[in-house]
């Protein structure tokens, strides 16, 4: 039930929101495009896992 609470949802949302923005903008993506590509897909995958877990 802890994971379902609105407060935790907001925290998780902010975490992934900031993480994705950070990956996109601050990683030296020209020198390491693989990191950008897989990190962004990783963030999306993590969101899916979280939502799948709380909505089970």
């Amino acid at each position: 039930m802890f994971l379902h609470s609105l407060e935790v949802r907001i925290l998780i949302f902010l975490l992934f929101f900031i993480a994705s923005s950070w990956v996109f903008l601050t990683v030296p993506n020209l020198s390491n495009p693989k990191l950008v590509y897989f990190s962004l897909f990783g963030v999306m995958g993590a969101v899916i896992l979280y939502v799948g877990l709380v909505q089970k």
Binding site: S20, N29, L40
Partner: protein, 937 residues
């Protein structure tokens, strides 16, 4: 190259396939509803979010701006964290009020406001007709591409007739599947199934095309990304630098797409209006983002390989087809084309259905109510929707023809998303803030639309050169630089999308809050708002209806039925009218009755309004039902009296009544929470009981074992004593007569040793079984040091023989109340076990330590062994368990010792934290009187 004839034939088969799917879905749904009404189909139908822009436009954006395209799909995934609290609420309210579109929802929420309904419909038409044009343009371009040969030459006999055929097919599918009936809230299984199928087709095309381009024509994803830095230097303007404006663009895309996936009119239609079960939202919350993740896997690699192949960035939106075509793989290109067609088709059909419904329900229906000349149109609602849909799609076709490859079309995707954003403040406030007023919503929505028009829509038209001069964008309105639409009030340096987003949303939200607070809803509106919001709660409590049903049945039902029938027949044919009335009569339990109560009449009024809303929208249905005066003036009076009497009987003011309802809802919530807590406690208690039960079983087992051991000991001891006596007698006689032979002497010695061994076992068994009478063995007060010295003296010979160093440490003066013999037995058992265990070790020592801790004596026996594994330690207190060789141990020593210590009220355990083998005995120094006086161990 694929010929025009072949393509037309393929398209013809495709259209037939889609129509057949709709036809079968309708039939399957009537027999097996769950085959269509399930969470998988619902999640896939949401895939209508992915239009031709996903199949083609994303690659264009990836080729020019790197991973920026991904924000359009990551946004919905992030937003899915909140889908359950928002969508489930919307679905519950839809189930109560039966609104037919997003425009109908905002109108219904804000006091059935016609103005809001009209504004919303106008916004949707403005924002989405160009988007339909973009889809048709995309189809046209990809059709031409497919008909080219490898040199780029076009061989067309029928020119643009293929485009016209496609548009005609889309219209046909929209009318046959999307607009098949007038009731838009009724389950359209054909449309849902078709959208789900189209999602599967576009997903398949994206994956197949992606794998072919990335792995068959090129060297995989990793290789593509490695090639990126070189290409980026020439073609990338976005990746590689990080500035505030880029952060704003990224955030804008994330937020826009997060809301667009729910509040784009077509998405709202699928997610809310077409939802058959709110539980489906749970699955869709993760399955739909997963769909988006998979469909986007190859977008960036395809863009990179397209650029690497020397194709221009300006044509990047065709890479999915152009790359296979460049390698003469026409069938793969055809797969990509059909994926794009499925994506466009789904979007256009849904947009056509939604916008035409909005037009009839939010614009035409209120007009019919105002102008009596239009009354004849009431039975033509469905046909009018068909005409509107045809006009919309045709307008899209001519729009794109007029603009050609003009940039305005390309930017229309984001402009439509921005239009959608104008709904967000009034929808979210409408769901969670009861004081959000109609006036606040109208002002907020108008301001938002105004800023959207000025900062996004008009500049796009100006850039197209169709309407305004481009000076409007560069110089500003009336030549005033602070009125430049893309740098309003000097806010410069942002992308046009981020700029428009900031202005429209900030002003819209501010207007809503300020106006709602300045002009709060009046009592009736506030009551409506509360009713609306409470419909979204999981625990809706229709207390008033429950109490009203108790009123006396005084109203004749027949005239009311005639009125209801008359109203419905203005909009539907006789068959549909009868079917709808039958549903209502069944629901209200009116069948076979002649009279109803005034409360039930109010229910009938509500149900008719809701039912009619499914066809003409909530605003028009409210007006239509009101106009027939189903509840007469006198009945209204009766109803008011009855409600007043009911409330009066309760002795409550309206405020108290509201508080009471809130109290009941809170109570239910508390009960729900309490039930959850009780369940958790029950689970913990069940686990504890389970453990106790296991202990009890073990205890009973041990008791039975003890009883059995005692019995065996008794039965064996008597004959053994006889044997022992006889052996002694034989030995004496033979010795006396000097007839003892050495062999006989040896055998007799063996027999005596064996008897001795059996006697030891029997003593152990008797002790274990408590068969030994301890009544005569009282508790005595002894000095611990003396007890230990005397005990150790008994086994010192064996200690020396085994070359073991044994030390005893502890304060001399500690005294303990115990049964000394039994305690000695425990010490001897432990020392004996230790000597056996360390006999093969190089270092052999045993330390006995004791001390007084509070009211207890702590006595430890530690040896130089390296401890006892947990799995053995768990079993070693059980009787007959031994790790010694056969014949060396009885397996009773520790179980007997454990029993003795328990009989002293103490604890006996192994200290696993010690690196050596350490047994701990904890004994009370003083025994309670009842134990001292009790019998036995």
């Amino acid at each position: 190259m694929i010929s025009e004839i072949s393509l037309v034939l393929i398209l013809f088969l495709y259209v037939l396939f889609i129509l057949a799917t709709g036809w079968f879905a309708e039939r399957i749904h009537s027999k097996h509803p769950s085959w269509i009404d399930n969470s998988i189909v619902y999640s896939l139908a949401l895939g209508t979010y992915c239009t031709a822009w996903t199949m083609f436009g994303s690659i264009q954006l990836a080729a020019s701006s790197g991973m920026l395209f991904f924000a359009v799909y990551l946004g919905p995934a992030l937003g899915s964290i909140f889908w359950w609290p928002i969508l489930s609420r919307l679905v519950r309210i839809k189930n109560r009020f039966q609104f037919t579109s997003i425009a109908d929802f905002v109108a219904a929420r804000y006091d059935k406001s016609i103005t809001l309904g009209v504004l919303a419909s106008a916004l949707v038409v403005m924002g989405f007709v160009p988007y339909i044009a973009l889809q048709i343009r995309s189809l046209s371009v990809t059709t031409q591409l497919l008909l080219q040969d490898s040199q780029g030459a076009r061989h067309q006999l029928y020119g643009e007739y293929v485009d016209i055929f496609l548009v005609a097919a889309i219209i046909l599918i929209t009318l046959v599947i999307g607009l098949r009936r007038v009731m838009t809230t009724a389950r359209n299984s054909a449309l849902t199934a078709t959208l789900a199928l189209e999602s599967i087709l576009k997903l398949g095309a994206a994956i197949l095309g992606g794998i072919f381009i990335v792995y068959f024509l090129n060297d995989g994803v990793g290789h593509a990304l490695e090639a990126l830095p070189k290409l980026a230097a020439e073609n990338y303007s976005f990746m590689g630098t990080a500035t505030g404006s880029q952060l704003m663009t990224w955030v804008t895309y994330l937020v826009l797409s997060m809301f667009a996936v729910l509040f784009l009119p077509r998405q709202f239609q699928v997610a809310v209006i077409a939802n058959s079960n709110e539980k489906h939202i749970r699955t869709a919350s993760w399955l739909f983002p997963l769909f988006l993740l998979v469909i986007n896997l190859f977008i960036l690699p395809i863009a990179i390989y397209g650029l690497k192949a020397g194709l221009p960035v300006s044509q990047a939106d065709t890479f999915l087809m152009a790359l296979p075509l460049k390698n003469e793989n026409h069938w793969i290109a055809l797969v990509g084309y059909l994926g794009g067609l499925s994506a466009s088709l789904g979007m256009i059909v849904m947009a056509g259905t939604t916008i035409s419904t909005m037009f009839t329900n939010q614009i035409l229906a209120p007009l019919i109510g105002h102008y009596s000349k239009l009354l004849s149109l009431r039975r033509q609602i469905l046909k009018i929707r068909w005409v509107v849909a045809i006009l919309l799609i045709a307008a899209g076709y001519f729009y794109q023809k007029a603009l050609g490859s003009n940039a305005v079309l390309v930017s229309m995707g984001m402009i439509s998303f921005l239009a959608t954003m104008q709904f967000v403040p009034i929808i979210l406030a409408g769901l969670f803030w009861e004081k959000a007023s109609r006036r606040g919503a109208v002002v907020s929505f108008s301001v938002g639309i105004g800023f959207w028009l000025f900062t996004a829509f008009f500049p796009a038209l100006a850039k197209s050169g169709l309407v305004f001069s481009t000076d409007f964008v560069t110089e500003g309105l009336f030549g005033l630089s602070w009125l430049r639409p893309e740098a309003l009030f000097g806010l410069d340096g942002l992308s046009s999308t981020a700029h428009s987003f900031l202005w429209s949303i900030s002003t819209s939200v501010a207007s809503l809050i300020v106006t709602s607070l300045a002009f709060p809803p009046e009592e009736a509106e506030l009551q409506h708002n509360l009713d609306f919001l409470s419909s979204g709660d999981a625990l809706t409590n229709n207390l008033s209806t429950l109490s009203l049903r108790e009123a006396e049945n005084l109203i004749h039902l027949a005239p009311k039925m005639a009125q209801a029938k008359g109203l419905f027949e203005l909009y539907f044919d006789k068959k549909t009218t009868n079917e709808m009335l039958e549903v209502i009569w069944k629901k209200l339990n009116f069948i076979g009755r002649e009279k109803i109560s005034v409360g039930e009449l109010a229910d009938l009024n509500f149900e008719m309004e809701v039912c009619l809303a499914g066809a003409i929208g909530t605003v028009a249905s409210h007006r239509a039902v009101k106009e027939i005066s189903l509840i007469s003036h006198e009945e209204q009076h009766q109803l008011a009296n009855f409600i007043a009497t009911t409330i009066g009987a309760l002795g409550l003011s309206s405020r108290e009544l509201k508080e009471k309802i809130n109290f009941h809802q809170e109570k239910e919530q508390l009960m729900k929470d309490y039930t959850r807590e009780i369940s958790e406690r029950l689970r913990v208690r069940t686990e504890e009981l389970e453990k106790s039960h296991q202990k009890l079983i073990q205890s009973e087992k041990m008791a039975s074992l003890g009883e059995m051991a005692g019995g065996i000991a008794h039965e064996v001891n008597t004959p053994l004593a006889t044997i022992s006596l006889c052996v002694g007698a034989i030995e004496r006689r033979l010795t006396d007569k000097n007839e003892m032979l050495p062999e006989v002497q040896k055998s007799l010695s063996t027999i005596k040793r064996t008897i001795e061994r059996i006697a030891i076992i029997i003593r152990g068994l008797r002790t274990f079984s408590r068969a030994d009478d301890s009544a005569g063995m009282p508790f005595e007060k002894v000095r611990t040091a003396a007890l230990l010295e005397e005990t150790i003296a008994l086994c010192m010979d064996k200690v020396r023989l085994n070359d073991v160093s044994l030390t005893i440490t502890g304060p001399v003066e500690v005294e303990i109340q115990c049964r000394p013999v039994h305690l000695s037995q425990v010490i001897i058992n432990l020392v004996g076990n230790s000597m056996d265990a360390i006999s093969t070790l190089g270092e052999k020592w045993i330390k006995i330590d004791y001390s007084q801790v509070g009211a207890n004596l702590i006595l430890t026996v530690t040896d130089s062994g390296s401890g006892i594994p947990h799995d053995i330690a768990d079993k070693m207190m059980q009787p007959f368990f031994t790790t010694k060789e056969v014949g060396k141990g009885t397996g009773l020593g520790l179980s007997v010792s454990s029993g003795i210590i328990r009989a002293h009220g103490g604890r006996f355990f192994i200290d696993h934290s010690c690196p050596n083998t350490k047994f701990v005995i904890e004994l009370p120094i003083h025994q309670p009187a009842e134990r001292v006086l009790s019998k036995g161990l």
